[in-house]
Each structure stands twice: as C-alpha cells, then as structure tokens.
C-alpha cells in the first residue's frame, strides 16, 4: 500500500520533471512574431506605375521643375526608360496618350480626381487604366491636393468610366 503510494508520487514527480525538460532548454525556434507596420519614409522624385508580369510596379524618376499630375501622365505615356526595360518593366499605356488632370475639391486635402484624356477611354486595357489612375492620384497626393485613396474618374471622348481607386497598396 505504502510502496504503491510512494511509487505513484515518484511517477508524478518524474512526469513533472520530464514535462519541464521536454519544453526545452536554451533558445528554441519560434513562430513568426509580428510587430507594428513596416518601415516607411519619404521618397524623392516622380512616382510612376509600370507593369511587370501583369502587376503594377512603382518606379521613381528624377524630379523635374514642373511636376504636375498631367506632366506625370505625360512621362508615363512616354513609356519605360532603357534601364527599366532591361529589368523587365513595360507599360500598357499607349504612347500617344495625353490627358489633363482636374481636381474637384470638396475640402482641402481631399477631393475627387478627373482625368480627361484624348481618344477613347475604352481603348485602354484595365491594367493601363490602373497605371493612369495610380500615377495621377500619387502625383496629385504629392502636391497635397487629394488623398492617395481618392477615387479617380477617367473621361474620354466616349464618355466617363466609373470612378476607381488605385489598387496598389
């Protein structure tokens, strides 16, 4: 009786010790631990959106004297530069693309953006539309005229497309 009780106590102690030891000494590998949101900082230059493997890619170009959203769209229409092409970046915006960007301010710092383009808006591929929207809204946001999540309406000779936001995040 006593022997059995002692045995049980020993077993319990051994199990406890075993469990403690099994949970490991030293530095053990861990699962992924997440902290706050990623590091962020300022950028110099004009932000354009090119395409690589069907996805929008942000590129930075040297700033010029006149960095209006319309100017940015003009540089986008000019297509990728030599070094960008060599890294596999392309553009679906046609080279003849010209547009004027208008801001419809509601309050300061937030408003709707309208891109009035020459030619038909329907001729643009969805990717090209995204390129135009993102480039225009980023340029306007850099100038402090709208928020970077502002909706953008593209208006062509064939009428207005529904307003969209830049999908790049």
């Amino acid at each position: 009786m006593t022997g059995r009780r002692t045995g049980r106590a020993l077993l319990a102690g051994g199990l406890l010790l075993g469990t403690l030891l099994a949970s490991g000494c030293g530095v053990r590998p861990s699962p992924v631990i997440t902290g706050r949101s990623a590091v962020s900082g300022p950028a110099q230059g004009v932000r354009l959106y090119l395409v690589a493997q069907g996805e929008l890619v942000l590129v930075l170009r040297r700033p010029t004297v006149d960095d209006t959203p319309s100017e940015a769209l003009a540089r986008l229409a000019a297509g990728p530069q030599q070094d960008e092409r060599s890294q596999g970046l392309t553009s679906e915006v046609p080279t003849g693309f010209t547009a004027v960007v208008e801001v419809t301010p509601t309050t300061v710092g937030s408003g709707d953006l309208t891109v009035r383009m020459t030619g038909t808006a329907r001729a643009l591929s969805p990717t090209a539309i995204d390129q135009v929207i993102c480039t225009a809204v980023d340029a306007a946001a850099q100038a402090g005229r709208v928020g970077s999540l502002a909706p953008v309406t593209i208006v062509g000779s064939d009428g207005a497309q529904p307003a969209r936001r830049c999908p790049a995040r």
Partner: protein, 485 residues
C-alpha cells in the same frame, strides 16, 4: 529469510521513507520554482534582445530614406545590404527577383516570415541553423504619402542576427538552476536525516522497552520527552507496564500465599499423622486377631494412614521446590549401582529388564535419582504393562536413563500433562493408587540438576512398538545452583 526481512525493513524503513519523501518534496519544489523562473527569465532575455534588434534595424533603415531611385540596380542593392550589415548580423535586401546579401552565410528565410513581411508588417522569427540560434527580422520599405498613407516600394529588408550571447546567458541560467536544485536536494536529505533521527529515537527506545517487557522485565519504563504523539505512546506504554507489573505482582503474591498455605498445612498434618501412624501400626498388628469386619476396617485405616503420610510427604517435598529451598546433596555416584539398588530395595530386580553398563560415574544427588527411577518404574508397573525395561547410556556430558513399558502408551492428549500435579490420565478413575504428585516431583528433581547451560530434563514419549518411554537426562557433572528454580 530473516536476513531478507531485515534488509526489506531497512529499505522500506521509516528512515528511508522519510528520506524519500523529503527528497521528493525538495526536488519537486525546486524543479517547479527553478524551472518557472528559468522560463520567465528566458522569455524576458529573448524579448529584450528581439525588441532591441528590431529597434536597431528600424533606426538603421530610417537612414536609408529618402529613396530616390526605383527600380534599384543590383549595385545599389549590394551597397544597401553592406550598409545594413555589421558585427552583430547581416542584411538581405530583396527587390522583386533581385537579391543582395551582406554575408555569404545562407539566410534561412521562411515562407511564413516572407508572407507576413509581404503583408506590410515588421515581423521576426527565431530559427535554428546548424545548431545555432538566429533571429530573423524582416520589413518592407514603404514610401510615405503627404496624407500619411504609405505605398510599398517593393524593397524588402531582412536582418539576420545570431543569438549566441543570449544563448550563453540562458545556458548560465540553466546551470544555476541545476546547481540550486542539487543544493536543495542535499539540504532536503540533511533535514530528512535530522528529522528521521528525531522520530526514530523514541521509536527505537519504545521497541527496546517493549522487548524487555516481553522478556519479563516488568519494571521497564520509558522516559517521556515532549508532548507529541510519541510521548503519548510512551506514557501509555508506561501505564500499561505499570498495570501489568501490579497485576502480575498480585498474582504472584496470591500464588505464593497458596503454596505457603499448602506447605503449612502439610507441616501441621505431619505431627498428628505420626501419632496416627503409630496407632494404626498397632491396629495393623492386631488386625488378624480382630473378628470379621473390625479386622478389615483396621487394615483399611492402616492403609489409608500410610497413603495420607505419603501424600503429606510428597506435598512437603513439592512445596520445597516451589519455595526454592530444595538443595542437591551431590556425590560421585556409580549410576548402574544406584539404579540396581533402587530396584532391589523395592523388590523389582527380577521383574525389570535392566540394561545397565557398568562404570558410568556421574556427579549427582543419589537420593533424588532414586526418587526419579522409583517413580518411573513404579508408574510403568501401575499404568503400563510388563516387561518394563530400564536402559542406561552415557556420553561425556549427559547421563541418560530410559524407562519403557509394553503398555498401550500415552494418549497424545495426556502426554502434555503427565507432569502436571494431580493429573489423572483416566478421569473415570477417581482414586489413584499414588499421590498424583510422583511424576511432578520427578520432573522437578530432574530440572534441579544443572551444570553451566545444561539442565536435567524428563521427557515422556511413546516407543516405536507402542509402550510409553520416559527419558531422564541429567548433566554428568552437576553443580549445586543453590535452590534456583
């Protein structure tokens, strides 16, 4: 068997059990406390190291801004990776398909870490590579917009930092935890030994006292120490021993009173009996001249007076044994001659088959030897059947006399009681021809002979062919122990 049992008693003894319990308690407590604080300290150390590393990386990355060129060239990535690498770790910079590394060490970037980083959060993970712990921290480089939102630039930075210093601190903690555990075990064992001694001493005393009491020392008492349960037991033991001593003393007093009464009565009867015997002797002589019934009555009275005298003499004899006043009158005796004389005097010489080798000389009390032999042979004639044989044998230490008959032998029930006083083997026979004390006196006489550790014995048994065999063994050299009982 006894050895095994004593070994088992040692192993399962109170001391070992106390020791085990204390050790188990000490080890369990220390294990829980030490391991608990170990794990907590480990968590704190790792958390601090991780937080500091993340902070350092964030600070370093703040210096990378402003970013002026996207997409970067491989050259720029290499420069960035070199800038972010230092003594404590190295960086991996990834931009889309391009990758630059500040050290040739392979970086074990896990898919789940890349997933979290891709979702726009700083993430870190401890991994083990080549048995060495590493901390991986990853983050995107995002670009601010004036309105406070950010856009991913496509650049991802991973910092690899080895955790060897932390591992060393933690190992040191573990070593200390083991050391503490060992010390506490040692302490527990010492405490257990101390407390076991405290508990075991009274128990051992109690055991020794109980053994002494069992061996008949009724004056045994324990010293009562303290007020605990063991002291209670000791007190109870003392009370019990006291009661026992009183009661046994009372019984002994009553017994000795009874014996003295018998002795006194016997002595008082002797004088009137002597007178009666003188009268009955005269009557006996005249009996033949008396007519009819008167003669018979005279003979009967004479016979009964003789029996009564015998009984009183036997009672006096046995009360001497009881009071311890019986003394041996030792002499060098030729045993064969003594036995022959006994048989001849009682007229049994022709009826007994005697096997008595000559020249067996022993130092003993010849009168008591005569009493014993006469009693045994007389008994054999009375209760057994002829032929009765007496056989003498001797070795350097013992003289042995066997008296055997050819009767029905002794009933097993009777055998244990033949030496009891007034024991009647045949309950139907209300009146024995003897006093009923003969065998008891013989037994006492045999036991009176002693020398060193040897003590005379008288044993009743049954022979191989059925008759009763009484075996008398006496030490060949008897010293007078002086009335010892």
């Amino acid at each position: 068997m006894t050895l095994w049992r004593s070994l088992a008693a040692q192993v399962l003894g109170l001391r070992v059990r106390l020791l085990l319990a204390f050790a188990l308690l000490g080890v369990t407590t220390t294990a829980v406390v030490a391991s608990g604080s170990y794990f907590q300290a480990r968590t704190v150390i790792l958390q601090q190291a991780q937080d500091a590393a993340v902070m350092a990386l964030t600070d370093q990355l703040a210096k990378v801004y402003p970013i002026s060129q996207l997409p970067p060239t491989q050259e720029e990535l290499n420069v960035l990776a070199q800038r972010l690498s230092d003594r404590e770790g190295f960086a991996v910079v990834i931009y889309r398909g391009m990758r630059a590394q500040g050290s040739p060490t392979p970086a074990p970037l896990t898919p789940e870490l890349r997933q979290e980083v891709g979702d726009g959060r700083i993430a870190w993970q401890r991994v083990s590579q080549d048995g060495q712990p590493w901390l991986l921290i990853g983050t995107q480089l995002q670009l601010d917009s004036p309105d406070g939102t950010s856009r991913p630039s496509g650049l991802e930075v991973y910092s690899m930092r080895d955790l060897v210093p932390e591992q060393q601190s933690i190992d040191q903690l573990a070593t200390r935890a083991w050391l503490t555990g060992g010390l506490s075990l040692l302490l527990a064992v010492l405490l257990a030994l101390l407390s076991a001694r405290g508990v075991l001493r009274p128990v051992r005393d109690l055991g020794r006292a109980a053994r002494r009491l069992g061996e008949g020392d009724l004056t045994t008492r324990l010293t009562v120490r303290g007020v605990d349960e063991l002291a209670d037991v000791a007190r109870t033991f003392n009370d019990t021993a006291g009661t026992l001593e009183r009661q046994v003393g009372e019984l002994r007093r009553m017994e000795s009173d009874a014996r003295r009464f018998v002795a006194d009565v016997s002595h008082e009867l002797r004088t009137p009996l002597a007178a009666m015997t003188a009268v009955t002797d005269v009557l006996d002589e005249e009996a033949d001249h008396l007519p009819g019934d008167a003669g018979q009555a005279a003979r009967l009275v004479s016979q009964e007076a003789q029996n009564l005298t015998q009984l009183v003499n036997d009672l006096i004899e046995i009360s001497r044994f009881d009071s311890g006043t019986a003394r041996l009158a030792l002499d060098d005796v030729d045993v064969a001659a003594a036995v022959t004389a006994t048989l001849r005097i009682r007229g049994w010489a022709d009826r007994v088959r005697a096997d008595l080798p000559p020249a067996v000389v022993a130092r003993l009390d010849p009168r008591r030897l005569d009493v014993i032999v006469a009693n045994l042979v007389g008994n054999a004639f009375r209760h057994g059947a002829e032929p009765v044989s007496v056989r003498l044998s001797a070795d350097p230490d013992w003289v042995t006399i066997e008296v055997a008959d050819q009767g029905p032998g002794l009933d097993p029930e009777v055998r244990g009681h033949v030496f009891d006083r007034f024991y009647k083997a045949d309950t139907a026979r209300t009146r024995s021809e003897g006093s009923g004390l003969g065998l008891a006196i013989s037994w006492e006489n045999a036991r009176l002979h002693r020398h060193g550790g040897l003590r005379g014995t008288l044993v009743a048994a049954n022979g191989p062919d059925g008759g009763a065999v009484f075996t008398l063994r006496l030490p060949r050299v008897t010293t007078d122990a002086g009335g010892a009982r």
